[in-house]
Subunit: 214 residues, 2 copies
C-alpha cells in the first residue's frame, strides 16, 4: 500500500538503483542527474530534492553496493582457515565483484575524485573498511606465522586493494575476458603452493652469511 506521502522512499530506491547502473555502464563522465533520472523513470529535479546533488546520490549508490558486498564477502571468507583456502575465497570475491559491477562503481568514483577534493575524502572514508577487512582476514589466517613477518597483513591489504582497483580498468581492455580469466587461472595455480610457504619457509634456517656476492 504505497501512499503518496511515503512514496519518496521508493523514488530514492529507484534513483539509487539507476545511479549504480548508469555509473557502471556509462562511467562517471556519462553520468548526470538527467541520465540517472531517465534511467529511473523519474523527474531529474528529484535527484536534488532527495539527495541534494549528483555526487551524494552516487555515494549513496556506492554505500548500498558496499554494504551488500561486504556482507557477502565476510561470509565467503569466514570459512577459510588456510592461506590456500583464503586465496580461493579471494578469487571468488574478485570474480563476484567484477561481474556484479561493484568494482566499477568503486573505481569510477575513485577516478572521479581526482579533480574533486571534497569527493575524495568521502571515497577514502569508504575504502578504509575494505582495507581493514582484508588486513583482519589475513591476520586471522597467517597472523603469527613467519610468512606474516615477510608479508605484513596491512601491506598486503594495500596491495590487494590496489590490484582490486586495477581489475576494473584491466577488464575494459579485455573485451572477451580471456585475459581476465588468465588472471583467475594464475591465482588458482598459485593457491596450492601458498600454503607450502607458510609451512616450509620457517624450516629453512641456514646461516645466510655466504649466500651471494651479488
Amino acid at each position: 500500500m504505497t501512499t503518496r506521502r511515503d512514496s519518496g522512499a521508493e523514488t530514492r530506491d529507484r534513483l539509487i538503483e539507476a545511479a549504480a547502473e548508469t555509473l557502471k555502464t556509462q562511467g562517471y563522465a556519462g553520468t548526470s542527474a538527467r541520465t540517472i533520472a531517465k534511467a529511473a523513470g523519474v523527474n531529474s529535479a528529484l535527484v536534488f530534492y532527495h539527495f541534494g546533488g549528483v555526487d551524494p546520490l552516487l555515494l549513496a549508490a556506492l554505500d548500498r553496493s558496499s554494504e551488500e558486498r561486504m556482507r557477502a564477502h565476510r561470509e565467503t571468507v569466514a570459512g577459510a582457515t588456510t592461506l590456500e583456502e583464503l586465496v580461493e575465497a579471494a578469487t571468488r570475491v574478485y570474480r563476484a565483484d567484477m561481474e556484479g559491477g561493484h568494482i566499477t562503481l568503486f573505481s569510477e568514483l575513485v577516478g572521479a575524485s581526482i579533480a574533486r577534493p571534497e569527493l575524495r575524502a568521502e571515497i577514502v572514508k569508504r575504502a578504509d573498511p575494505w582495507i581493514d577487512f582484508v588486513e583482519q582476514t589475513l591476520d586471522r589466517v597467517i597472523g603469527g606465522s613467519p610468512l606474516a613477518r615477510l608479508l605484513p597483513p596491512r601491506d598486503v591489504a594495500y596491495a590487494a586493494i590496489t590490484f582490486y582497483l586495477g581489475v576494473n580498468l584491466f577488464t575494459h581492455l579485455d573485451a572477451d575476458r580471456t585475459r581476465t580469466e588468465a588472471l583467475f587461472g594464475l591465482a588458482a595455480r598459485v593457491a596450492p603452493r601458498a600454503r607450502l610457504l607458510t609451512l616450509r619457509m620457517p624450516r629453512r634456517r641456514r646461516p645466510a652469511s655466504t649466500e651471494s656476492p651479488e
Copy 2:
C-alpha cells in the same frame, strides 16, 4: 628561427604538453578543448584544427608519454638478469611512472573508454605493447625455469598491468603516500626471496603422486 608557416609544430607541441598536464591534474571529466587550450595559452579552435578533436589530442599525449616511458623502461630493465634484479627494476619503473604521472595518463583514458567504444579500441592498441614488453622481459629472466611453468610470463604480465593500473587509483586514496610507500617496501622485502624460488623449487622433485586429492 620560427616562421609563421611552420609555427604549427610548436603549437601542436604545446597542446600535447598541456593535454597531458590537464588530464593528470583534472581527470578526464575535467579535460576539455577549452581547458587544454587555456593551459597551452592557445586558441581552443586549434585543438580541432591540429588534431581533429579532443580525444585524438589526448591519445597523442598518451603516445608521446608512452614512447618516452617505454624507452626509459627498456633501459632500466635491460640489466636485470635475475628475478630479484627484475623486481627491483620493476619497482623503479612503477615509481617513475607514478611520480611522472604516466600511470594517470594511461588509466584515465582506460577509464574514459568505458563509455566510448571507439576510444577503447585505440587504448587497447596502446596497451598491448606494454603487455608484450612485460611478457618478453619475464621470459628472458625466468623463461625455461620451473617457475615459468607455475607463473606463465604472459599471465604474470596481465597481473602486472592490472596492478599497474590500480596503482594510479590507489595513490589517490592515499594523499600522504605512506600506503604507497608500504607497497614499495613490500616489493623490496619480497624481492630477495624471489630468486630463491627460481633456484630451489626445481630441486624439490619428489614423486608428487600422493600430493593432494583436490
